[in-house]
Symmetry: C2
Subunit: 416 residues, 2 copies
Amino acid sequence: MRGFQTRSSVQDVLLAYDEHARPIRAEAISILHGSGRVLARKVVAQSNLPAFDRAAMDGYALRGEETFGSDPYNPILFLVVGRSRPGRPCDLTLKPGQAIEIATGAPMPHGADTVVKVETTRRIGRQVEVGEATPPGRHVGVMGEDVQLGTIVLEENRQLRPQDLGLLSALGIAEVEVYCRPRVTIIITGEEILPAGSVPEGCRIADSNSPMLAALVARDGGIPSLLGPLVDDRSLLRSAILDSANTSDLVIISGGSSTGPEDHAPSLVAELGTLAVHGLAIRPASPSGIGFVDGVTILLLPGNPVSCLCAYDLFGSEIVRMRGGITGGWPYPGIELPLARKITSPIGRSDYVRVATTLVDDQLCADPIATSGASILSSTTRADGFVIVPADLEGYALGEVVRVWLYDRTLELAPS
Amino acid sequence: MRGFQTRSSVQDVLLAYDEHARPIRAEAISILHGSGRVLARKVVAQSNLPAFDRAAMDGYALRGEETFGSDPYNPILFLVVGRSRPGRPCDLTLKPGQAIEIATGAPMPHGADTVVKVETTRRIGRQVEVGEATPPGRHVGVMGEDVQLGTIVLEENRQLRPQDLGLLSALGIAEVEVYCRPRVTIIITGEEILPAGSVPEGCRIADSNSPMLAALVARDGGIPSLLGPLVDDRSLLRSAILDSANTSDLVIISGGSSTGPEDHAPSLVAELGTLAVHGLAIRPASPSGIGFVDGVTILLLPGNPVSCLCAYDLFGSEIVRMRGGITGGWPYPGIELPLARKITSPIGRSDYVRVATTLVDDQLCADPIATSGASILSSTTRADGFVIVPADLEGYALGEVVRVWLYDRTLELAPS
């Protein structure tokens, strides 16, 4: 058992992935299940929105030029000859001096070109007084003003927002073609590991990584499936890797990723396919790597839960998202905060430093959490987020403003 | 059909909700389904983590003081008397001059107090050369150093992160008590509305709001169920409200929320319960409100999709999240950007202004999207986010730095 001879960077892992990236499959799904999914092809409008001229306000439809000269003290009278209601055709044609009562969303009658808001009118029997000059086109939703037939509504690779689903539905589009969510098998290895949910016994510990990784993978759009914990048996792990590569779009192996005698994963990946990168200059996740078996990407993550989280955050997350066609940014919101204490880190190594936010002289600061080692999982639950020290820096000074990546969003408060 | 006599604020809606807020139910769930859920009670550790002293590195366990004086040129020899492996009890007791080969995670043998990293040793048959002085306690994970028995691991009202699930699992906790996800019935009303997924016909339009609201409610932790579209029939809507109040934790009615003759929702809520707030000084969502029927909150949202989104963003989202016990911030990340054009808004009214981000002289700016009216749904898909102009401002000047709430996270890029 020996350490790593050389160490690579996170960028090397991502480049290796890029080289081996396979086309992403697509599927047609109902817009009702589209939120957060990524369009595999652009959507072109097959109809105008709105599909007809319609009222944008409750009021009276009439010819705008006939209201010119009116004001609250000199209203002009119109004869109300009918009513246009939403969802019903309106076959009436206005003659001069006539108006039609109209509700928001109802079709404009022939001959009318404007809607006078109900608030500026007074109804007197079959007549209505209009006390405001209203030019043609006011409060009318013109056919195609929202979306014109034939235009691109949403581009390929768009991650669908709730309002996108609304727009697609308004255009009569019931299904969209999106990238398949990647199936991600998470293999947990380790002689000493009991299944998640077990009570630890003696010197055996309960699996922390499968619930954590499953949640992270789902957050990033993947469909996790769990395998293990497996004992450190080479042939067992070989079968698990081959089976998973056969049924998954991505395989994550947690544990057995270092250079010890029981660390079978790296050499098995090399034997069954290619071990592209192994050993990273990152702390606390150096025993990480990436390889490829039968064209399927295999991520090697450390078994230590903190290191596992760090490695997942630094490259696992991006690879899962890319595998599902998600091109947007990191799942963590970033804020700029001064440091309450300095951070030191050797040149040549990237550090993932958990920080808590704290008030110092009424100024919100990021305070690095001191831990005795990489294995303190509660440091990631006590932390509000983390700071990355890039490999080319020796750290950050006290008071220096750094970017803090927040684990959740409790600091982003809505305006009151 | 008349407009609103007075208009309330978003704050009035939230206050009305607070007054009528009911206790939130709780349920026990597996930690495997815990991500994003909110703890209904604090979690106290029933065991130490780790539960035993263990190696934090691969190497040799020995007595630290016996390495004092060694260096790479003057290594000290130890006799290797055994091996400690993860998950297996280690009953060996070290005598002076002895060491035990140990793997990360394996229990410390009796008598050993430190682990010498394998990288600083050289194995020679049954002996090992140690070339680095290693004080007691180095590379040892001490029982309880991560979490001590009896301490609070996670507080009540915590929204669970992936790593929280990992920590709970490590502590042998398989289930947690969380607040129930609120069941939210979304009632769509409107004579002219065809079900989502329909192709619009004549002057009938397809429902945009149910796919949009269902996605928003799910994002905010609710379980949406859809009802409608219902025609504008008073007794039909009455039954729908009563049934929904009976089976839901929250009811959202979209459409028929204004003051026209077909706007039955506000008066029905008043008739069946309390209409607390109706008519807001917000644009474009003034025909909004809140009421209570049989103790269940009823949100009245406009039928116009843009107004519906605005009202949901301004108070619907917060109420859904509160109903599920989520106390964290808004689901939109906020960034500060200068305005590419001025925004005007009358005093006394809050405006929800869609903006696109754009480069002006290499500076990222927020550019308000000009629309002819509130009904341009594509303005919310073309926008990158929105700006809120509070009621006490007349707007913002060109170049003024404003807070932009991003619809998604494409601007938050991970560090390279």
